[in-house]
């Protein structure tokens, strides 16, 4: 256990304390206690910046379940540090914001902060450990914490729905990811990412390579809301806004990005990886940006915007992975630009999206609504919120001089470079990347305009709001968005603050092999590159976006704009409904509640399996070696016995049935007599007599058997099953008997025959087996009878109605 381990688990430890802090320090908002931890952790992780920016890494080992290859090994390199700083940095700001957002008087704060700390610890665990299974463990914890936060207002149906949806989709991804990790283990015999990277060549050649990749990508795509799994994210907006800002835009949804980046050294440089990432990324980017335009809820817009931006980053990681294919400076540099853009945009997105979520939260908090059809004219009422939103929106729209512009330009460079690739079939279809990127950017620009102008400009209508007096948020609530907004500007003006400290080390972790060839020029990020293709694309985006916005009146009546819900939800809802109705149908067919059905199912299965195994083992054998001759009275007995049994199913009268059973029993006793087993014969006679008398006594009080008529098919089926059971049992009996003559040794009964008198002094061997050799059997059978007797008493005397207890 090192400081690094402690840093990862410290949020969990704090989570345990929170309920007590909440309970015993009600006067102080619980958030203040919580706030200190991410702040301290942020400072702690800053101390690692010199390590990783020098190209170093830090690892601290701690075995957890070595038998299964699970080691809690903490690992810090440029990529994990970038995420750790995001998690703790944004985490601190979000906690600070939440202190003003959630009232200590009315909200169950202990729940909120326990979930939040659970999330923070889990997220730190995901990015700071080297073992795939440990990552998986923390990964599922982030899903869990996320669902709990979505369901924070658990009496609302929408919250429950969103929580369930996010859990089902992300855990589905998690399970398949676990499968993928296991396949990696089968290939490499380790769960350590660093060790797997060392064996990457072997992995690529394995036939399990593609299944492992697909399964892992399912995990990454579900978590990072890639098309078509993105549908959980808009419903996750039911969570309190600080949560949306933190989990559902800045950190958790980037876990998938992290995983993809982390495993790029293993899978990168292959066409499958390239195409899956860039293809799904660009699709998600486009789908998300178009869907965002249709939203009327501020957070809905932001949710789809997040989806689209995540697609953008995913696409860039895919395009960047191509650099691993090359080993010369020009080409490697050209494609590595995409990776740099991905890392840079990751940071930028966290800043501008975080600030936008917080301002949306402020609007909601102060006005009581987030519906852009009701909002308007807040510019003068909320000047600070307005300013921060302006900065954030401009960055998201990709306007200079903010950081979003820089990474958007680099994104355009990346997709333009991709068209020059002459591998992976890109020479034929590569052109779609710039086209889609450009279209998506237009829609991004459009929803930025809609969101911003509908909220802050236009006419302020007091009647639209439930609150009496709309005003600016309290100062405390503005601190966090203002800080994030400032970062948007700072990173916009001084991007090189980040490049060598954060971005380059992160890149080194994603495409380590390419780092040797990359020209250092690409790390110099600046605004003005002259009149190149990128700037014209941006100008086009602004022009078309503005045009669409101005003409909004014309197209906003279209039905596609009127509907907000993502059509893919139908697939999800439909499959859940289908799952339930389907499972009900399956269960209804077999669980009929009728004993005769149960027996029919079971017997058919048993007979078939037994006959199959007889066939398989070639087991049937019959041995007539030492069979006794059958005397005439034996024939009589046997025929009577069989006849009495055959009559049974045709009897409709209860007393007759009981008497027939008696007849069968007494005939059995006669068999025992014939075989000279007097003890058994007496027992059988006794049992049979008592049985018949008891049954007659009891049945005297019962009504007549109801006459039931069955279809002949039903009767025939039952007859066939019965005969089959009888035949099977007989066949096995013959074969088992035959085995007796084949085996090289006798039965243990020979021992009893030889030694009983000597050992026990008694001559009745059967009795002595019962009361001496195997006395425990007899004692227990006595117990069985005693329990049965007590049971009868209980059943007769104790009658309850089922509501007395649980």
């Amino acid at each position: 256990m090192t400081w690094l381990h402690l840093a990862i688990i410290s949020p969990f430890l704090l989570a345990i304390l929170i309920p007590f802090l909440y309970r015993y320090a009600r006067n102080i908002h619980t958030g203040w206690f919580v706030f200190l931890l991410p702040l301290a952790l942020f400072a702690y992780f800053l101390t690692y910046v010199p390590v990783t920016s020098g190209g170093g890494t830090h690892q601290a080992n701690l075995p957890w379940v070595p038998s299964l290859g699970i080691y809690f090994n903490a690992y810090v390199d440029g990529l994990s540090l970038l995420f750790a700083l995001l998690i703790t940095g944004i985490g601190a700001l979000v906690v600070l914001y939440s202190i003003y957002y959630l009232s200590k008087k009315t909200e169950p704060l202990h729940n909120f902060y326990v979930y939040l700390m659970m999330f923070m610890g889990a997220m730190l665990g995901v990015v700071l450990t080297d073992n795939l299974i440990v990552i998986y463990v923390f990964w599922e914890l982030t899903s869990l914490a996320s669902s709990l936060l979505i369901s924070y207002w658990f009496h609302r149906q929408a919250s429950i729905y969103g929580a369930q949806k996010s859990m089902m989709i992300t855990v589905f991804g998690g399970f398949s990811m676990l499968g993928g990790f296991s396949l990696l283990y089968v290939m490499t015999d380790t769960f350590s990412i660093q060790e797997i990277i060392a064996q990457a060549d072997q992995v690529v050649e394995s036939p399990l390579f593609l299944p492992a990749m697909l399964l892992i990508l399912l995990g990454a795509f579900t978590k990072s809301a890639q098309f078509p799994f993105h549908i959980w994210l808009p419903d996750a907006m039911e969570a309190p806004t600080p949560v949306s800002a933190y989990l559902h835009s800045a950190t958790m949804v980037k876990a998938g990005i992290y995983l993809v980046a982390r495993l790029t050294p293993v899978f990168g440089g292959t066409p499958e990886w390239f195409w899956l990432l860039s293809g799904f990324g660009i699709l998600t980017l486009t789908w998300g940006s178009i869907s965002a335009v249709r939203q009327k809820d501020l957070k809905g817009i932001l949710a789809f915007s997040t989806i689209s931006q995540l697609g953008l980053i995913m696409c860039l990681l895919g395009l960047g992975s191509a650099s691993l294919y090359f080993t010369d400076a020009d080409e490697t540099t050209m494609y590595a630009t995409a990776t740099l853009a991905a890392v840079f945009h990751l940071v930028n997105h966290a800043t501008f999206k975080g600030s936008l979520f917080m301002t949306a939260g402020i609007v909601d908090h102060e006005t009581g609504t987030r519906d852009i059809r009701k909002l308007g004219g807040l510019m003068t009422i909320m000047p600070v919120t307005f300013t921060v939103s302006l900065i954030g929106t401009a960055a998201m729209a990709g306007l200079p001089p903010f950081n979003g512009f820089l990474s958007k330009e680099m994104f355009f460079t990346g997709v333009l470079n991709a068209t020059e690739l002459n591998i992976f079939n890109m020479e034929t279809v590569g052109f779609i990347f710039p086209v889609f990127a450009w279209i998506a950017s237009i829609f991004t620009f459009l929803y930025c305009l809609i969101m911003f102008f509908r909220t802050f400009t236009g006419k302020f209508e007091p009647s639209n709001y439930e609150v009496d007096h709309v005003h600016e948020a309290p100062k405390g609530m503005l601190i966090s968005p203002v800080i994030l907004g400032s970062l948007v500007i700072i990173f916009g003006f001084f991007p090189n603050l980040l490049t060598y400290t954060i971005l380059e080390p992160a890149m080194a972790a994603i495409i380590p092999d390419s780092m040797n060839y990359i020209e250092s020029a690409i790390f110099n990020i600046y605004h003005w590159h002259g009149f190149n293709a990128e700037i014209f694309m941006t100008l086009g985006v602004v022009a078309f976006g503005a045009l669409l916005f101005i003409n909004m009146g014309k197209w906003s009546a279209l039905s596609i704009y009127q509907k907000e819900r993502d059509p893919l939800n139908r697939a999800y809802d439909g499959s859940l409904d289908g799952l339930i109705t389907g499972s009900q149908a399956v269960t209804r067919i077999q669980m009929t509640g009728l004993l005769r059905d149960y027996f029919a199912f079971m017997l058919v299965f048993m007979v078939m399996l037994l006959l199959y195994s007889m066939f398989y083992a070639d087991a049937f054998a019959i041995n007539t070696q030492d069979l006794a001759p059958i005397s005439p009275h034996m024939w009589v007995l046997t025929i009577l016995f069989i006849a009495a049994t055959l009559v049974m199913p045709f009897i409709n009268h209860r007393v007759t049935a009981i008497i027939t059973i008696g007849v069968i029993g007494f005939l059995l006793a006669l068999f025992f007599v014939v075989f000279r087993a007097q003890d058994l014969a007496i027992t059988q006679l006794l049992v049979e007599t008592v049985l018949v008398i008891l049954l007659l006594l009891a049945f005297y009080h019962l009504p007549e058997i109801r006459k039931e008529t069955f279809k002949p098919v039903f009767k025939l089926t039952n007859a066939v099953i019965s005969v089959a059971v009888g035949v099977t049992v007989t066949l096995i009996a013959f074969s088992a008997h035959a085995m007796q003559h084949e085996r090289p040794f006798g039965a243990i009964s020979e021992y009893f025959i030889e030694n009983t008198y000597e050992l026990t002094g008694g001559q009745n061997m059967v009795n002595l087996i019962l009361v001496d050799f195997r006395a425990i059997d007899t004692i227990l059978e006595v117990l069985v009878l005693a329990i049965a007797a007590l049971g009868v008493v209980t059943m007769i005397k104790l009658r309850m109605n089922g509501r007395e207890d649980v």
Partner: protein, 493 residues
Amino acid sequence: MNSLVVLPVLLPFLVGSILILLVKRHALQRWISGITMTALLVLSIILAVVVYQDGIQISELGNWEAPFGIIFVADMFATLMVVLSSIVGFTCLFFAFRTIAPVREKYYFYPFYFFLLTGVNGAFLTGDLFNLFVFFEVMLIASYILIVHGSTNYQLRESFKYVAINVFASLFFIVGVAYMYAATGTLNFAHLAERIDEMEQTGVLNVIAILFLLVFAMKGALFPLYFWLPRSYYGPPAAIAALFGGLLTKVGIYAIIRMFTLVFNHDPTFTHNIILALAGFTMFFGVLGAVSQFDFKRILSYHIISQVGYMVMGLGLYTQLAIAGAIYYIAHHIIVKAALFLFAGAAQKITGETHLKKMGGLLGSHPVLAWMFFITAISLAGIPPLSGFFSKFALILSGFEEGRYIIVTVALIVGLLTLFSMIKIFMYAFWGERKHTEEQSQMKIGSVLLPIVPLVALTIIMGFAAEPIFQYSEAIAAELLEPDVYINSVLKE
């Protein structure tokens, strides 16, 4: 004769018999039961430790040596099962103290309870096939009475099916014993193993193997022999449902694992592949049942079936890792399943309901119950870092290692559907608008929850401290895959 081996059977037998005489003395019954159960727990742990340190312990009853007399054999697998039965027996008993109607105590509730444990522990410890049958009978007859205890109309109707199918299974059991004796001439497990090894498990021995698989599959609720289970477990009080849900099917699973590692281990491509197929179907149909239900207890009942599938999946894969996973799974499942049934009881005590659509908002009124349930529920679904994850993970990993992708896929999908159905319980009963009365939401249930705390603690500990538990499971798996040790210690060769 090593008396420590016999005590887990003898103690509940004797105490149960004595309690018959004290049924009118409620407090005394409780004291005696509580003390006995505690003693049993301590004893079983001591036995497990002794066996872990010194190897297999045997006890020759009446000093008749194997294979002629009946031998109790305590190996690590058996003692683990006895410990688990004591843990569940302990918690359910104390839960029963808090919940059952006093009138039940007058009608031999505690004697039946201890007789059931007698049968269960005996089934784990015996080394003789016929004696196993007898212990099954003891266990079953006690279970018949406990499941119908109270004789509500529902119980009488559904218990009849339970009894009918189980009596039928017992019939096949005894037929199988007869076949086995005819074919091999012996009944002692070790002796059977030795002889079947010599006969190379040919011909009808394979058929007998399948017959025993079917018999124990009926007791263990495997596909398609589980019909008796879901409805019958709905009837009895929660303490009994929990004891049954945790323990009873696992006796069948124990017998399957014992039979197919010790005795019928010579043709695994035939027998163990059938087991694997059954495992897949069991998991799948069981979980579909759970998905289809909207009743707290019924969902849990169907989950017993699906979970049993995982355990035999480990046996079907038949590697050390897989069997270790199965052992881990059994331990995990017994604890978690018992806890879940007890939570259902606690929720019912508050709301008077088990139907999910009539429940809601328990998280608001009873957060401790809600969170304890939540932890246990996600453990059942295999969410890390709880016990359910590591047991499932070992199975999945070994399945991948063996290249058995279909069963692994089924296992993962079933895991997801398990989560779905457990979250369904959470959604309806714990989230949402409160549907119980103000008075009900004020009900204090700390004393009802207290007996469940150890179970929840165990599922957490078994997750975080997975290493020692897993090493223990691996040791058991190694022991099961080396049957010679068992055979030699019984037959003293």
